[in-house]
Point group: C2
Chain length 263, copies 2
């Protein structure tokens, strides 16, 4: 099955110098995967206008269906996402009235003036549709370009989540045909390399499923087996694959313990 | 100051579908930055031979001084890092005797045989130097190619850390000239957009320093200011920049509280 593709781009030196763990990439990756996208790459790049805009031209040339860009929408000098996107898209930045109003309301409630630095957050590439931020100051945006949907979201996780869940996902939900089915189970008393040949076997019978063993999954003991796929008959295939796998595992490791697993 | 450049590549679908948070990228990024490298990109890519090997050709064309590749060295069918590197480097995979011995010792202690799946972990691109793994089974490697140093490390964090700290960093330490100086301090009673113009001002006086405000840094209240740079006179410049910044901040926010900060 050919799935629509996505790339995630996280902008910010702090992600490259070891200051911030990129939890945004993980969050966005999970949501896009469940929605039915194949996330091809997640890239962290520096706050550098030349490097970053050249990078986006590369991304555009790969033509993913969706690009989500997180980080660099704030008021500081190195918050340059919109400038970067404008340069890569060769689109001028234009002050958006709706964004100015949103910023006026946000800072007004806090008794702050709309200074030059804050007003910068209302400068969007021409043609962008503003996505309201209900948690923080910086609005996001949606840009349609050469058949791609580009979504711009803040780097602050709570603000990113707000815009992603309330604006981005509902827009994408109307576009995708197949969502994800998945099942996880945990096995104890075996090593990953012992069961690797069994997984290889089962994999050949279910080429459309993604089957993966995770040792120490989220700090848990044992190995978690994750089976997933897209499309109509996937749910029953997953159950068949699980049954076949357990049969093979038990031949290798008679003492195997199997648990259901939900996370 | 022109720093040597680095790219970090993390291989594994689990990083793209939201199952695993990419803490390896953060750890490696911090170590390379402190050593004196400019980490240009951190990219998570899928376990797909064609996509991943094409991706590495792109990386090679950018000619970073160092490439660290994490993940995909294990015994399962989707552990394909060495195959991917071999394809991208156009180098055949050759069984390495030292790696076979290391795997024999590792599995021997656990009363496991060196099965075909486990033996796969000893197949390295021709010309690679093996890096011993003292924590897990899969050895890493060092490849020199077209002026670049490529290091291959496992995805399991404890194994990656072992090989990175005991092999990779000592090799790179001999190559770099400038290491990082940095200072962090915390300010309370102000917003990021209030102090943004002061940071812009100070930035123009210290163009060689990287100055960054982090709201909610590692979950802490207030804003953490991070100043860093490379080279001989950096330590004194950082102190001057801090003093100048605090003076400007206090004009804007007389009630400002300043704390030292270490993490």
């Amino acid at each position: 099955m050919i799935l629509p593709t996505a790339e995630i781009v996280c902008l910010g030196n702090e992600l490259l110098i070891g200051v911030t763990i990129n939890t945004n990439g993980t969050f966005i990756g999970e949501k896009l995967t469940k929605l039915g996208y194949e996330v091809r790459r997640t890239t962290c790049i520096r706050d550098d206008l030349e490097l970053a805009s050249a990078f986006f031209k590369e991304v555009f040339s790969r033509k993913p269906d969706v690009i989500i860009v997180s980080g660099g929408l704030g008021p500081t000098y190195d918050d340059i996402q919109l400038e970067v996107l404008g340069k890569a898209l060769e689109a001028p930045l234009i002050e958006d009235e709706q964004a100015v109003r949103q910023l006026e309301v946000y800072y007004g409630k806090r008794n702050f003036k709309l200074s030059k630095e804050r007003r910068k957050m209302a400068l969007f590439p021409k043609g962008a549709t503003i996505l309201n931020n209900r948690v923080g100051g910086a609005p996001g945006c949606h840009i349609q370009y050469a058949g791609m949907d580009i979504f711009s979201v803040p780097g602050v996780p709570t603000e990113m989540e707000d815009i992603l869940l309330n604006h981005v996902i509902p827009i994408l939900n109307k576009k995708v045909e197949n969502s994800l089915f998945e099942l996880k189970f945990q096995i104890l008393n075996c090593s990953e390399s012992e069961i690797a040949p069994c997984i290889n076997d089962v994999k050949t019978h279910f080429p459309d499923l993604y089957i993966k063993s995770h040792p120490a999954y989220k700090g848990k003991i044992g190995i978690v087996i994750h089976i997933s796929g897209y499309g109509k008959k996937t749910e029953s295939s997953i159950c068949e694959a699980k049954a076949e796998m357990i049969e093979l595992f038990k031949i290798k490791v008679p003492s195997l313990i199997i648990n259901n697993f939900k996370d």
